[in-house]
């Protein structure tokens, strides 16, 4: 599928990323440098990094496929499913985490609730990230295998070698700065495909007219708000309650790999600005990943599998050279996801598990070494577990489903933890455990409870709501925390005007 120029672009890209990442090795002298970039990074780099690490190659294919099937309503995930949550994170949560000098979200939960809540949250994230790593290695290997003809195991080792080397040596600074380049490549490759596809379909208005005449199943293809009784997974009620109120906030506020980036900012303004800048960039993502799926409806009508939409468009529309660039964009999405997982998991393990449970009070160089060794061990685990993906093709979806169990309850305890002083450690712990259990229950018996195809948005909302109620009730029945315990951990209007140091 690739021409000579395409091979050159892809290989130059991979080598360039490796060299750029390794350049940042010289800035790593302490654990703070490794995990928080020495708190020295500018908002624009962090904003780009947040966006590019949020979108992987699997999303390129998956979202285009969903746009092919369900239309523009898929864009809700990057529009209303990101912007309000990122503004809430920027103005309320990030300043607390940044001022508190925190490394991880579970660290906040540990200070606000107790060590058990911190450990449960941290172990859950570590498990999720470690599993995801193997899946991403496999996905990148399949891409390299199909397009470059490299054997699967060589592809896996090549990906792990490149990403692992710069993440091991350069820490989060290398992760973020390589993300910046990956962002640029992703946008150039993505927009090239969109513009050429638009030309192919005769412009936007022509495409809309053609799709409108293709039959009743395309009636709502350009309605961003879908009716409550739609059979698609995106009714407006699910988008509002499940996505906007719960999942988006849980993702932008409770996801270690997102929040950790903001904590690398050189000052509080840059920390807030990174999220807001990221939200502006996020609004362009649907253009890159959704529009090709819509245009494929016209160019390749009647595809049995919507996930074929994007590969078909690349094959039929892009000339040599741009195919290589588009593939580099895919690979950029994968690499940025893998390096984020590696660094965030190493941070979670070192700060939430190793430091409190295995070796307290060691010198900083020791924790830096632990972080690097953890990165290496994770790489090996990722490589070793990657073949699981070929044995269980649905594992990516299964991992995402597993995360949706966790999102509602974690956001309930974060929200109440920061806004309500009366929330207690037992309230938080019971909300987390019962909320996750309830989400699992709803998912197992979803046919009995829900009428839509994939009710993950509704499950998030109802598990959030139950977690919220349990937290309130149990907190009112248990002993409240003292003012001293809550200092710097609960929202106060003072933070807005005078409380600069927590």
């Amino acid at each position: 599928m690739l021409a000579g120029i395409d091979y050159f672009i892809v290989i130059a890209y991979i080598i360039g990323m490796l060299l750029l990442g390794l350049y940042f090795k010289k800035f790593v002298n302490s654990s703070e440098d490794y995990f928080l970039g020495g708190k020295s990074l500018p908002f624009w780099a962090i904003g780009m990094s947040i966006v590019v690490s949020d979108i992987g190659a699997l999303d390129f294919v998956g979202v285009s496929g969903q746009a092919y099937r369900y239309g523009i309503s898929v864009g809700n995930f990057d529009w209303v499913g990101s912007v309000p949550a990122m503004l809430l994170a920027a103005f309320i949560f990030i300043p607390y985490f940044w001022r508190g000098g925190m490394y991880t979200i579970p660290e906040y939960l540990g200070r606000r609730y107790n060590q058990k809540v911190r450990t449960i949250a941290s172990v859950t994230w570590i498990l999720f990230f470690a599993l995801d790593l193997g899946v991403l290695f496999w996905a990148s290997a399949v891409l390299l295998n199909v397009l470059m003809g490299w054997p699967i195991w060589i592809s896996i080792v090549a990906t792990a070698g490149v990403v692992g080397l710069y993440t091991y040596f350069g820490g989060i600074t290398a992760v973020i700065m390589t993300d910046v380049v990956q962002f640029v490549i992703m946008f150039i490759g993505g927009f090239a495909l969109v513009f050429l596809s638009l030309y192919e379909v005769g412009g936007w208005d022509n495409m809309v007219d053609k799709i409108a005449t293709m039959g009743p199943e395309y009636r709502n293809h350009f309605d961003i708000i879908q009716p409550q009784d739609t059979k698609s997974p995106f009714p407006w009620t699910g988008i509002l309650f499940g996505l906007t109120f719960v999942m988006a906030n849980a993702y932008m506020i409770g996801n270690q790999s997102i929040v950790q980036r903001c904590l690398t900012a050189k000052n509080e303004w840059h920390a807030k600005a990174s999220m807001i800048f990221g939200s502006a960039l996020k609004m362009f993502i649907p253009i890159l990943v959704l529009f090709p799926g819509l245009m494929a409806v016209v160019v390749h009508p009647g595809l049995a599998d919507g996930d074929q939409a994007l590969p078909m468009m690349i094959k039929s529309i892009l000339p040599p050279g741009l195919v290589g660039l588009m593939f580099a964009a895919f690979f950029a999405g994968l690499m940025s996801s893998v390096d984020s997982l590696l660094n965030s998991t190493a941070t979670l393990f070192t700060k939430d598990i190793y430091e409190p449970f295995i070796k307290k009070g060691a010198d900083d160089k020791h924790y830096l070494k632990v972080g690097q060794i953890t990165t290496l061990v994770l790489l090996l685990i990722g490589v070793a577990t990657s073949p699981i993906s070929s044995d269980f093709p649905g594992i990516y979806v299964a991992i995402q489903t597993f995360m949706s169990y966790f999102q509602g309850p974690i956001f309930a305890i974060l929200l109440l933890g920061i806004f309500w002083k009366r929330t207690t450690e037992w309230g938080g712990l019971s909300a987390l455990v019962i909320g996750i259990g309830f989400a699992v229950y709803l998912n197992v018996f979803k046919e009995q409870f829900f009428t839509i195809e994939d009710p993950f948005l509704y499950i998030s909302w109802w598990s959030f709501l139950l977690g919220f109620i349990i937290n309130v009730v149990v907190s009112l029945l248990t002993k409240k925390h003292t003012e001293e315990q809550l200092k710097g951990l609960v929202f106060s209007s003072k933070i807005l005007v005078e409380n600069k140091k927590l």
Partner: protein
């Protein structure tokens, strides 16, 4: 109840207005933030209108609202 059947009478146009109202509400809340707070981290002499994060947020919300208004 789990499927929000009790909201089945709400039309798509009304639902769209709910989303647009949400953006307006967020915009008002952002405008209510103290200006000192949104500039925190920037020296007083370096504070300009272009690094006022309220303006950034309002711009982002306006673009978002226009997308929902269009589609």
């Amino acid at each position: 109840m789990f499927n929000f059947d009790w909201l089945s009478g709400v039309s798509q146009e009304t639902a769209k207005m709910i989303f647009l109202s949400l953006y307006a509400l967020i915009g008002i809340l952002v405008l209510l933030l103290p200006t000192e707070y949104v500039y925190e981290g920037i020296a007083k002499e370096d504070r300009h209108w272009w690094n006022n994060l309220k303006l950034w947020s309002i711009a982002v919300l306006c673009i978002l609202a226009s997308i929902y208004n269009h589609f």
